[in-house]
Amino acid sequence: MAERGTNRSPETGAFFQRDRQWHPPAFTPNYKSSVLRSPQKALLSFDNTLSELTGPVFGHAMLGELDNDLIHNFAKAGESAIGERIIVHGRVFDERGKGVPGVLLEFWQANAGGRYRHKKDGYLAPLDPNFGGCGRTITGEDGGYAFRTVRPGPYPWPNGPNDWRPAHIHFSVFGHGFAQRLITQMYFEGDPLIWRCPIVGGISNKEAIEALIASLDMQSTIPMDALAYKFDIVLRGRRSTLFENRPEGN
């Protein structure tokens, strides 16, 4: 069975083992919310079964015209969100360095003042009536994606007495297998708050943190309109099935 709309054979190999030293551990006490929400017992490890290898397909047809434009997708006609206009673009790869097409990317963020449109957010910075804060897109054949938004503001949060989140955009990444499911956050090059953040600090490896920092990309800006940041994302790679035993007879 070929993948929908292409003549590629679907890949069915198991995913590479996740490097749990590279990810933040469950228990990161400087991020207080993790203390009572972190499993403490050993995980049950096993090679992927069909339940982890498979995953749903999201077609480009589900996307609305403004889904990848946060400047306009919540704004009144003729108006737009307030803030530093930016384009965020990049590619989704897997660990083998292959671009991954058909990945559903969903993003959400605070407005330019650092305020979320959510009833649980009581920060005194005002809401922007023209900014909702969500968007989505699906990667193209080479794994590429892009969207427009405003740069989110940093904001204080109740953790330590004076903790601030660096400016960030949340990304939900839906690859081909359910075992690739990932949520992460994108930070901005040069933001000094990155290195003071208890959530970022849950990641112990500096190189891993740097993998979440988008670079200013002057070659992708639109003059007199928007700056641009490049943010690549990497999903788990998968083994070749060439040498795998397939006793179920595929």
Binding site: R4, R20, L36, L44, L50, P56, D121, T184
Partner: protein, 204 residues
């Protein structure tokens, strides 16, 4: 030095945070007009084959308090045991069932409700059948990397007894942490993040 393997590292995870709803269920949290509906909120239509069931899932922290800001995604086979996925090579799944759903926990009660069908059995890697199950992925504020586990069914005792994944659980008293209790047409399932009743989470 030997040759480089030229592999990339997976992007490190970061918590979904308290405002995950804005991105993944915007209509649920009052951001209307951007998407027609929240993705994954409806799993069934009139043509979907299989026994209608309801899942009532809660996620409890180390004090036993239900999380009210979590989000759960489920992934399952159709009633005949086929996944609606390009990587499903054994046959074609029910075209009226994607098998994927997404729901937030209720902001007052902490209950996460899915209306779906009972999945069929899917083979393990060696061809033995696994018991009917649903894969779960749980994210929330305070969870640094999405948690992966499964929901099995209390009225599938025989299948559960021969399930190759359940069989791998060394401490047998933890097996029930993966089994949802049938109550009428519903299955009730509590996920314990910590403590004596900590759910068995997976690394797969």
């Amino acid at each position: 030095m030997a040759q480089s393997l030229d592999r990339l590292k997976e992007s490190p995870s970061q918590t979904a945070g308290p405002y995950v709803h804005i991105g993944l269920t915007p209509n649920f949290c009052g951001i209307g007009g951007v998407y027609a509906s929240d993705l994954g909120s409806t799993m069934l239509n009139g043509e979907t084959r299989g026994e209608r069931i309801e899942l009532r899932i809660r996620v409890l922290d180390g004090t036993g308090t239900p999380l009210k800001d979590a989000l759960i995604e489920i992934w399952q086979a159709d009633a005949a045991g086929f996944y609606n996925s390009p990587a499903e090579l054994r046959g074609t799944a029910d075209p009226n069932f994607l098998g994927w759903g997404r729901q937030p926990t209720d902001m007052e009660t902490g209950v996460c409700l899915f209306r779906t069908i009972k999945p069929g059995r899917v083979p393990f890697r060696d061809g033995r059948l696994m018991a009917p199950h649903i894969t779960l992925w749980i994210v929330a504020r305070g969870i640094n990397l999405g948690l992966h586990t499964r929901l099995y069914f209390s009225d599938e005792e025989k299948a559960n007894a021969e399930d190759p994944i359940l069989a791998r659980i060394e401490h047998r008293l933890r097996v029930p942490t993966l089994i949802a209790e049938r109550q009428g047409d519903a299955y009730v399932f509590d996920i314990h993040l910590q403590g004596e009743k900590e759910t068995v989470f997976f690394d797969s």
